[in-house]
């Protein structure tokens, strides 16, 4: 019993034009152009400091994601979504989680023979520190792309559509 009534509602699409939130503003665009590289760098700084001071992948990832939010607000969310692409976003999330897991598993493989996530088994000086930083970086990638995806999903929701 599959009742798949397609819910394409023509009225919802019409009212979406009235709800359009994008206003082209030279001030916002110029500001975003100037600010976003700094914000991005600050996000990276936070991620790399997860190992030995306050900071980390979650905070850094959120800061990096705000770059995408700023770009969306300045240049329009729909063009940004088309530019990024849904599948790219999924791939980036998957790649981030996969890289995290891969680091964990690699240390257990024959040449190293350590435990799961046992960075010091990698054998170069400071392996533990760099291992944690790498993991923080990947967490940052996952967080940033997830928040960007949520931002797109919320935006798609305002038009009464579903971005599945």
């Amino acid at each position: 019993m599959s009742e798949s009534a397609s819910e394409a509602d023509p009225e919802a699409a019409e009212t979406a034009d009235d709800l359009r939130s994008y206003v082209e503003s030279p001030i916002i665009m110029a500001t975003v152009r100037v600010v976003s590289p700094f914000v991005f760098t600050y996000g990276l700084y936070l991620m790399f400091h997860g190992a030995n001071s306050s900071g980390g992948g979650f905070q850094g990832g959120v800061v990096v994601a705000t770059v995408m939010l700023m770009l969306g607000i300045a240049f329009g969310i729909d063009p940004l979504r088309e530019w990024v692409g849904e599948s790219t976003l999924v791939l980036v999330v998957v790649a981030g989680v996969f890289a995290f897991l891969a680091i964990g598993v690699v240390t257990t493989l024959p040449p190293f023979g350590g435990g799961f996530l046992d960075y010091s088994a990698l054998g170069f000086p400071g392996a533990s520190k760099y291992g944690i930083e790498a993991v923080e970086l990947f967490i940052g990638v996952v967080v940033a792309s997830t928040i960007t995806g949520l931002f797109f999903a919320i935006d798609a929701g305002k038009e009464g559509g579903d971005n599945e």
Partner: protein, 493 residues
């Protein structure tokens, strides 16, 4: 190969990622990926269980840090049982979901994430790590419940999200109180340090953790998310969530109460003991009464779970070897029986459209497999001797008698009668009544084909397998309990 413990959590996550990537290549390609991941998970669980029961408890510290500081993973007989249960049930539900279930790739990605979360909760020996996996489990479960295409699923998932988050937050608060005074999160380390800790903080920690887990287990006054979630979710999700999520939460309760707080704490604190006994008693009675009064089959099954988990909590409160054995047996048995019942209810609904109690009249003619399996599973749930339902209740009842908890014993025996009350009326309707005529519209679509269009061989096979397992496991309990005994004795020492 002790890294296998960490891989048990990592493999479903890999599978989850693979399901997402496969979705980019081709839609509705998540099912084979999920099957491969679940088969691998069964193999890992079997290997770990063989080691845990054969050579004794496996401990593993992630990342090579020392035990109290690093995150410790531990597989004893109890955790191995849960691992096996999770792997087998998730594989079994997949066989059903191939035809019936949601088919999108994100669904299977979340499905495997739920498996990862549940596995993590089972193997962890670190209280904060347990919270993290509790949240992963919770979030995955909310998303799965919402995967139905009706508004009802979305509302149920939202309710589940709100109540479940409160539960997880209370658990985290409790963990925080325990951490404040001891400075450790490792369960074994906490157990030694809580003895010298400030009693007020320990009491607060116990209360928060237990009440938080009560919400996750769905013990009576805190069960409100559960009937909606089970009834609103797609059938395959209802089966998976009802079989595993509350079960693993109850396992977590058992683990925390006995590994962290210990027998002495319960013996010295009347109030702590009273929380467990009170929750159990109220849950058993109220859950059964509410189940009797339901007219929708899935809601009835959901309230039945409230009552059955009351039994498990009662066993945890009694806390001797026999009762805890009963708790574990009943957790496994309930998972198989209730998961099977939800799948059977789904099969029946697919074949005949019957979802309400009165629509089950004369079901045996319209859906012989569904009615037969439902009958066997219902009888097992009531606790008729050769089945696993009997074994679990028997151990718990004997445990209650051994400890002299006569009031609890009366409630446990009474609960069997109440279970009989709500299942007997369904069994009677299914086998001994004529089908009513006003159901024709639901059957019409089926009438000409002879066989229902929706039900697949996989769906029937899963349902029959669950019914067979409910009986077969009952026969295996005695051998199993001897293997489990050392684990429980360690837990109670």
């Amino acid at each position: 190969m002790s890294d296998l413990v960490a891989l048990a959590v990592a493999v479903p996550i890999f599978g989850s990622l693979a399901a997402l990537v496969a979705g980019l290549v081709r839609s509705e390609s998540g099912w084979p990926v999920a099957v491969v991941a679940c088969v691998a998970q069964v193999a890992i669980a079997a290997r770990l269980a063989a080691t845990a029961f054969g050579d004794g408890t496996i401990t593993y510290v992630v990342g090579g840090f020392e035990a109290p500081y690093g995150i410790e993973l531990l597989v004893d007989g109890l955790a191995a049982t849960m691992l096996g249960l999770i792997a087998v049930v998730s594989l079994g539900v997949l066989a059903y979901a191939r035809r019936a279930g949601p088919r999108s790739n994100p669904f299977y990605a979340v499905y495997l994430l739920l498996v990862a979360g549940l596995t993590g909760m089972s193997v962890t020996a670190d209280l904060f790590n347990m919270y993290v996996f509790l949240e992963i489990t919770g979030l995955a479960a909310y998303a799965l419940v919402a995967s139905g295409d009706r508004g009802r699923s979305a509302v149920a998932a939202l309710k589940y999200l709100l109540v479940g988050t409160v539960g997880a937050s209370l658990f985290l608060l409790g963990v925080g109180y325990a951490y404040i005074d001891t400075g450790t999160l490792n369960m074994a380390d906490l157990a030694t340090k809580l003895g010298d800790a400030d009693p007020t903080l320990v009491h607060a920690a116990f209360a928060f953790i237990v009440v938080g887990l009560f919400i996750k287990v769905a013990v009576f006054p805190l069960h409100t998310w559960q009937p909606d979630a089970y009834a609103g979710a797609p059938d395959s999700v209802a089966a998976l969530v009802s079989a595993l999520v509350s079960t693993v939460a109850a396992y977590a309760l058992l683990r925390v109460v006995y590994t962290v707080f210990g027998v002495g704490f319960l013996a010295n604190n009347e109030l702590a003991h009273a929380i467990l006994v009170g929750g159990a008693t109220v849950s058993i009675v109220a859950g059964s009464l509410l189940a009797v009064s339901q007219s929708e089959v899935k809601r009835m099954l959901a309230y039945s779970s409230v009552s059955q988990f009351g039994l498990v909590v009662a066993a945890i409160a009694i806390g001797n070897v026999t009762a805890l054995m009963g708790a574990v047996v009943h957790l496994v048995g309930h998972a198989i029986m209730k998961g099977g019942l939800f799948l059977t209810a789904g099969l029946v609904a697919t074949e005949t459209g019957a979802r309400r109690v009165e629509e089950f009249d004369g079901l045996v003619r319209r859906s012989p497999v569904g009615a037969g399996a439902f009958g066997v599973l219902a009888v097992a749930m009531v606790g008729v001797p050769p089945t696993v339902g009997f074994a679990g209740k028997w151990y718990i009842a004997v445990g209650a008698a051994e400890s002299g908890s006569w009031a609890l014993l009366a409630v446990i025996v009474g609960s069997t009668l109440l279970t009989l009350a709500y299942f007997a009326r369904l069994v009677e309707r299914m086998f001994f009544r004529e089908p009513s005529d006003d159901l024709e519209p639901a059957i019409e679509a089926v009438a000409d084909g002879g066989e229902a269009p929706g039900a697949s061989l996989g769906m029937r096979a899963t349902v029959v397998a669950a019914a067979v397992a409910a009986v077969a496991l009952g026969l295996a309990v005695f051998g199993y309990s001897q293997h489990l005994q050392p684990t429980i004795e360690v837990l109670l020492s």
